[in-house]
């Protein structure tokens, strides 16, 4: 005889371990996202696009045999015919052995959580890591605009702002009170007239309003010296910036300006795929930005961000104009950023080409540096996130 127990459900015993596990996943996601930022696949996609993020680090490891010819498995195939040498199952890629490219996700059998999220959510995740409240104070001074707004009624004012409705309301109120007090008899036919104290005027006061719209200028040098890989870095960086600002502002406009020796406003696709040609005059790009700001984005109404990206090459005769343009832009921008891609050449190296007197843009732009003007350097994709933090996080 066996015993049967019908016990009352106690609290879900796995709950605390489950939340612990999820906590670990969450942490791993944040870790992985930083890798994802450096990866190609997400750059230049629209914000709604779903991406899959591989999350590692919560796998439990064991000693196991590798997947190879010597590791034989046994199966049964009752009622089916199997021949020696027959291929079974689907084609799979071999597990990457140590040393030969350790790209995540290639290894079948590797336990991998894939989290699907839109780029917007991803950006949210990323930026929740940066200390936003502090950021807001430091770097998000919104431009303000003064506007006249109605602000209630008051008993004095100029005639055109007389509020008839409110005035009559005041008179009715006084009349009712008078009836109650017995000082006025409504049956008497006597007219209950307006009094000076009934008059009410609309009040208008100036208020300052924060502009929550932003425009972002991405300016890039597309001359011959900007190689594909440099452009790719720029693209990744721009993507992150865009997502971040998009996260902060209610509406956001993006303007792409590409320049060689002259500048054009282009669309996103052209911006990243344009065939390079010609020399480099950075000032042309900046002047174009100024021109567009003048025409379409008044600094009083728009929070302006300009990100310039190049490899530091510039015609020496243009440096003066460039600096002047940087200085002008810095005044009207929330943040103006000069991004240089590639290694900073040693002094000797470039002096060979340009003469020892010559300074490069990186050095020149140091002169402009200040609260609204930042310089960052990107050498490889892993620099993107630190550079980003330097720009917005206060601390790098």
């Amino acid at each position: 005889m066996s015993v049967f127990k019908e016990h009352k459900t106690i609290a879900d015993r796995a709950s605390s371990d489950r939340s612990r596990h999820r906590h670990k996943i969450e942490k791993a996601i944040k870790e992985s996202i930083k890798d994802v930022v450096a990866e190609e696949s997400i750059i230049g996609q629209s914000g709604k696009k779903k991406i899959r993020i591989p999350v590692k680090g919560i796998k439990e490891h064991r000693f196991v045999y590798g997947m190879n010819e010597k590791n034989k498995q046994v199966g049964s195939a009752q009622g089916k015919e199997v021949k020696e040498g027959q291929r079974i199952g689907h084609r799979r890629r071999a597990r990457a052995q140590e040393g030969e490219g350790n790209k995540p996700g290639n290894k079948p059998g590797e336990e991998m959580y894939e989290i699907e999220m839109s780029l917007e959510e991803l950006a949210g995740y990323l930026f929740s890591d940066l200390n936003l409240p502090e950021l807001e104070k430091k770097n998000f001074k919104f431009t303000t605009q003064e506007k006249m707004k109605r602000k209630g009624k008051r008993p004095y004012g100029i005639r055109p702002r007389l509020s008839k409705k409110e005035t009559i309301k005041q008179k009715i109120r006084r009349k009712k009170a008078a009836i109650k007090a017995g000082s006025y008899d409504p049956e008497s036919g006597e007219r209950f007239s307006f009094h000076e104290s009934d008059l009410r005027y609309k009040h208008i006061a100036p208020v300052t309003k924060e502009n929550t719209a932003a425009v972002v200028f991405f300016v890039m040098d597309v001359s011959g010296s900007m190689t594909k890989s440099k452009k790719f870095l720029a693209r990744s960086f721009f993507f992150l910036l865009y997502q971040f600002l998009n996260h902060k502002y209610s509406s956001i406009d993006v303007v792409f300006v590409s320049h060689t020796a002259d500048a054009h406003e282009v669309n996103e696709e052209e911006f990243f795929t344009q065939v390079p040609n010609g020399g480099t005059m950075v000032s042309t790009g900046l002047n174009k930005v100024e021109e567009i700001i003048d025409k379409r984005y008044h600094p009083n109404n728009w929070n302006i961000y300009t990100f310039y990206c190049g490899d530091g090459d510039n015609w020496s005769i243009d440096n003066k104009d460039t600096l002047a343009a940087f200085r002008r832009l810095k005044e009207i921008n929330q943040t103006m950023c000069y991004t240089e891609i590639g290694k900073l050449y040693s002094y000797k190296e470039y002096s060979l080409f340009a003469g020892s007197q010559e300074k490069r843009l990186w050095d020149w732009t140091k002169l402009v540096e200040g609260k609204n003007f930042k310089r960052v350097r990107l050498e490889e994709s892993k620099d993107i996130w630190p550079a980003f933090k330097k720009l917005f996080g206060g601390k790098s």
Binding site: S2, T9, D17, R22, V64, Y65, K70
Partner: protein, 438 residues
């Protein structure tokens, strides 16, 4: 709501028990806990033990079980039973009566196996529940201790879990610590006059290659704090408890299937129950194409033994064998061919699994031997402690049997061993015929 009542359960149980006795079975009393599917998932996640300690990995398996269940990818098991005295088993409220009958008959088979198979002799079925309860309480205590905390406890457990299968594969052998082993060898050398111990270094640690990594670390790592050592021992003890089950999975399931079939067939169940029973039974013992279904394989072999040698022989087999010897002794050419067993492996160049051997006149023995190599603990690499150097370096070695380790995994495990050992560790294996040191 369920379409059955407690009275019915009791009634069927009575019949099942008397039939079990008729089959000369001898099992622990069974305690059925009636639970809902959510609790069932909880029990599954914690390896069935009602008093198991906490760790996030069990939360992870719970989530996986739940997802798979919700997506309809897998059902929940009909039976789950613990090797304890009394044997604890779970019945899911949502299941219909025929399923319960099958489950209960099946559990009698398992419990009988636990009680009689020699592999289980040292598992301490009488005390296991209390032992796990105590371990669970201690883990909880360490987690709540302000000087330790959940993170530190998890770190140790994470590391222990990576090598939890690196324990001796012969159940029941009591581990001798270094002191005992030293005494044993000293006595042996004293009595020995054949000279076979000439050059034997009595000061070496360990004196015999040690396959129990956890126990070795617990014994020889001097930097461990008491709670850390306790955690390592807890994981080791759990592994040792489960080793017999890993060694007898095929037999155990095959036996239980045979028993439930026998019992249900003579139970005199109504026709409508009988149809559900046949459906369930076939689901459980059907072959899985390209894989080994332990229920199927074990059931087939036991049926074959019964057919050729009678049920009494089956009773003897369930007592004395483990999966390895069971297959070696009873899986013959005829059965291999009938089950159409074949071996395959992954061909790196082609990117496909390729069939190597099918069960033919000459090749069936190779298939059988490869099967033995791939079942239970044989599918897990053996790693031994070779030496503990004077300077504290731990020398580990993978016992290479032709199968190379998966390096990316081994690297990760190696890091964990390093963490547990808190000193230098050297680990060698063979990769593509060349020695590989970590």
């Amino acid at each position: 709501m369920a379409d059955w009542s407690m009275e019915e359960l009791l009634e069927w149980d009575k019949k099942i028990c008397s039939l079990g006795e008729g089959l000369k079975l001898d099992w622990y009393p069974i305690e059925y806990e009636i639970c809902d599917y959510k609790e069932m998932m909880g029990h599954m996640a914690y390896t069935g033990l009602p008093t198991h300690y906490r760790h996030w990995s069990y939360g992870k398996s719970f989530d996986r079980i739940q997802t798979e269940y919700n997506l309809g990818m897998s059902g929940l098991p009909y039976e789950m039973i613990i090797n304890s005295n009394p044997s604890i088993s779970y019945l899911m409220t949502e299941n219909p009566m025929p399923t319960h009958i099958l489950t209960m008959a099946h559990c009698v088979g398992h419990s009988d196996f636990f009680k009689n198979n020699r592999m289980f002799a040292e598992t301490g079925a009488d005390t296991v529940i209390d032992r796990f309860k105590s371990a669970g309480k201690r883990v909880k205590k360490y987690m709540e201790d302000p000087n330790i905390g959940i993170d530190k406890v998890e770190n140790i457990l994470d590391s222990c879990h990576t090598i939890k299968y690196q324990v001796p594969r012969t159940p029941g052998l009591k581990r001798r610590n270094h002191k005992q082993l030293k005494k044993y060898y000293k006595d042996l050398i004293k009595k020995d006059d054949s000279g076979r111990f000439n050059g034997f270094n009595i000061n070496k640690i360990p004196l015999e290659p040690d396959t129990n990594l956890l126990a070795f670390i617990s014994e020889h790592n001097r930097y461990l704090e008491e709670w850390e050592r306790d955690l390592i021992n807890i994981v080791e003890q759990e592994s040792l408890y489960f080793i017999p089950q890993a060694c007898t999975k095929i037999m155990n399931e095959g036996w239980a299937c045979m028993i439930h079939e026998k019992i249900v067939n003579s139970l005199g169940i109504p026709d409508n129950y009988f149809l559900s029973f046949i459906r369930l039974h076939n689901q459980v013992v059907r072959p899985h194409l390209g894989r080994i279904n332990p229920y199927h394989l074990g059931f087939k072999i036991f049926k074959y033994i019964e057919e050729k040698q009678g049920f009494d022989e089956c009773l003897r087999v369930r007592e004395t064998h483990n999966d390895e010897t069971f297959i070696k002794t009873y899986l013959n050419e005829e059965l291999c061919k009938e089950l159409n067993l074949f071996t395959y492996s992954f061909n790196n160049r082609e990117g496909y699994n390729k069939v190597i051997d099918v069960s033919g006149k000459e090749s069936w023995q190779r298939v059988r031997d490869d099967l033995i190599k791939s079942i239970g603990l044989n599918s897990i690499p053996v790693v031994i402690v070779k030496e503990l150097k004077k300077d504290g370096t731990l020398i580990l070695q993978h016992e290479h049997d032709g199968r190379d380790l998966e390096l990316s995994e081994a690297n990760k495990v190696f890091e964990h061993i390093n963490r547990l050992w808190q000193g230098d560790v050297r680990f060698t294996t063979i990769i593509e015929d060349e020695t590989w040191e970590f």
